[in-house]
């Protein structure tokens, strides 16, 4: 194959978001101790209950160990060599965008997330998080008219402490796992969404996370609560500059749905993945869980994971309410030396609960891509049903794909189905498309988007096309 069309060239496209914004930041010294936890809390002027929550988590974390069961390998992380709080130096959250440092606005504009009144997306409200703090949230007033609260979690702690106290840590307890405990101790910012009873959120909500500092861990915390009959669709996006060191990202996301409520949570993850030799990149250790607390409630996770050197992530649903529904739609793409161990847990507690899992893994280069999923049916989940489909696509002959489905059922009446397949983009398929006048890159992207269609169909329309393009870009140069 001639040089102009090798899949390798295609995949080796430079990472578009690798720039660093030169801005003065307020950082605390590296390392983690009880004093650091207290310092973060005091910098954010937090109420006592939250400081207590952090300190309890910190003490639990000290007694915990990093999980080692995933199909991942990385050098030991030195938690004392990391900075736990960094914020662009600006005094207060600004009342209006005009007062936000133009450099920050410019940064988000470069990332395709314009925040200014004139340019912002017309039907999507955005919370922009830069390093550890939220710098702006658009359409707040309009949302407030509907009773919808959409703000950074730091503001929510100040303005709605009762809601935070009621819900924080109730889905992912602070001692849930090593990374969740770490996050609970040091989390900096993230988004808070509250949709009151009976309200269908009038627009898409979105949070865009940007890591900028090179030596900083990012620990954001997101909490979304939908009261009885409420519904919301939320999307998060993320990018980071290119550094040759690894940065830790350990987020926690909690979703709560009461009776008849629904939350649709979509992620397009494009953290820096490291270079073709595996140098640098984000370690993405994330705990995401939704709790269908109410009857007939519905939580749907859709994720497109393309970045990070390491992805360890299992967005899950605890289906407690009767007739509640959990869904997980995932595309995970790994290239070069990226490693992903991702999947979901569907925990069926209530009767007639249903869950659907559709996972599409694409492995190129020398990467490793594992699906790991648990379907658990408890003794009271009479008539529970699950359907799982896990497909892997291999590009080239040096990539690895694994599927680890775990099924535990204590309910003889339940129905659990699991289907899995593995395929490969072959040189003959590509040649076939080329011999019909279709260029090499377009041929690859046609095949990849065909493979991912079931998942992309679940994304909000504005983002489906973008996800398609992102995958094509990530794969440039990987076939051949």
């Amino acid at each position: 194959m001639s040089s102009s069309t090798s899949v390798g060239d295609l995949v080796s496209q430079p990472y578009k978001y690798g720039f660093v914004t030169d801005i003065e930041t307020d950082k605390i010294d590296k390392g983690l101790s009880e004093d650091v936890v207290r310092l973060i809390s005091s910098k954010k002027d937090e109420p006592q209950f939250l400081l207590d929550f952090r300190l309890r988590a910190y003490k639990q974390w000290l007694r915990m160990e990093e999980p080692d069961w995933a199909t991942l390998g990385h050098p030991a992380i030195d938690y004392q060599e990391m900075i736990y709080y960094a914020a662009p130096r600006q005094q207060e959250k600004k009342a209006s965008l005009d007062e936000v440092d133009p450099k920050l606005l410019e940064t988000f504009e470069k990332l395709g997330i314009p925040l200014s009144e004139q340019k912002r997306l017309s039907n999507v409200a955005v919370d922009a998080v830069f390093d550890s703090v939220s710098i702006a949230t658009t359409y707040r007033e309009k949302l407030a008219e509907h009773g919808v609260i959409f703000c950074s979690i730091s503001e929510a702690v100040k303005d709605h402490p009762d809601l935070i106290e009621r819900y924080l840590g109730t889905v992912v307890p602070s001692n849930d796992n090593f990374f969740a405990a770490l996050n609970s101790a040091v989390f900096s910012d993230g988004s808070f969404v509250f949709i009151p009873k009976g309200v269908a959120c009038p627009m898409e909500l979105s949070t865009y996370f940007r890591i900028n500092s090179g030596d900083t861990g990012q620990f954001e915390r997101t909490l979304i609560v939908a009261e009885e009959g409420a519904s919301v669709s939320y999307l998060e996006g993320c990018t980071a500059p290119m550094f040759d060191t690894n940065q830790l990202h350990a987020a926690v996301v909690e979703l709560v749905t009461l009776d008849d409520a629904s939350i649709k949570y979509s992620t397009v993850q494009n953290w820096y993945a490291g270079d073709e030799n595996g140098v640098g990149g984000i370690y993405n250790f994330v705990t995401k869980r939704g709790h269908c607390r109410g009857d007939r409630s519905h939580i749907s996770w859709t994720q497109v994971e393309t970045g990070s050197a390491i992805t360890w992530k299992y967005p899950s649903c605890v289906l407690q309410g009767a007739d509640s529904v959990g869904e997980f739609y995932s595309v995970a793409l790994t290239n070069n030396l990226q490693q992903a161990d991702t999947g979901t847990k569907m925990v069926h507690v209530g009767p007639r609960t249903r869950s659907t899992i559709v996972s599409k893994g694409i492995s190129a280069g020398r990467s490793s891509n594992s699906y790991r999923g648990l379907v658990q049916i408890g003794p009271k989940a009479t008539g529970a049903r699950n359907y799982s489909q896990c497909d892997s696509m291999l590009i080239g002959d040096q990539a690895a794909a694994n599927t680890y489905p775990y099924i535990r059922s204590q309910q003889p009446e339940a129905s659990v189905e699991h289907e899995a397949s593995t395929c490969r983009i072959s040189a003959d398929q590509l040649f076939y498309l080329q011999s019909r006048g279709i260029g090499f890159e377009e041929a690859v992207s046609m095949m990849v988007s065909g493979f991912c269609r079931d998942v992309f169909n679940q994304l909000p329309m504005e983002f489906a096309a973008e996800a398609d393009k992102l995958l094509a870009l990530k794969l440039e140069g990987s076939v051949g």
Partner: protein
Amino acid sequence: MIRPDADTLLEIVDLQARVEDKPILKGVNLTIKAGEIHAVMGRNGSGKSTLSKVLAGHPAYTVTGGSVLYRGANLLDLEPEQRARLGLFLGFQYPVEIPGVSNLEFLRVSTNARRGEKGEEELDTFAFEDLVRERLQVVQMDPAFLERSVNEGFSGGEKKRNEILQMALLDPLVAILDETDSGLDIDALRIVAGGVNHLASPDNATLLITHYQRLLDVITPDYVHVMAGGRILRTGGKELALELEDRGYDWVDQELAVLEVA
């Protein structure tokens, strides 16, 4: 149809090619003019399928010598997709399945790629749907096949019909059909051959690659070439195919042996 004044579409001179380290084509000469139908016959391993893949630009084959001019330009410099856009078509012996890619969308994208090269406007989904429904009749294909993934779960005969449908949409100047008759029952063979005959015109040319006479009973070639050991050993009219049918390929082997000693 042989016309001395017809334009030369394809001119292959001393073409040599290998796959990995194995030489397969050892000096193929062949000239194809507009309006002509050529048949290349030969045993398995004679190099006939390799010839078709080299012409279409398959990456597994390396050209080690000779030249190919397509309408006066160097074909071997072009990417496979450029060759296709310029009107070179390869009908595959074993069309691959491409799960997840809709046949209709695939046909539309490829038709538009060819149309763009010809300076014609792109067809939107509606205009294309009209065109494809009309061309389906050439191969008597059920429109339901448009809704499926490319070749996925198609029978051997359906795959071959899908190939001829693509040919009907792409309107090639040189169509190379590699063992199009293999795996077809007699009815399917008649339909596929009918499609090829229907599409043949004074402006285009067809190169049939086949084992058997039976395809040539339904598509009458102007020239028959016998290939062995990576070369064209003999060229004649349609009667040469009948001679092969009568005498088998043994005499070809003998001629080849003489040639290789010499």
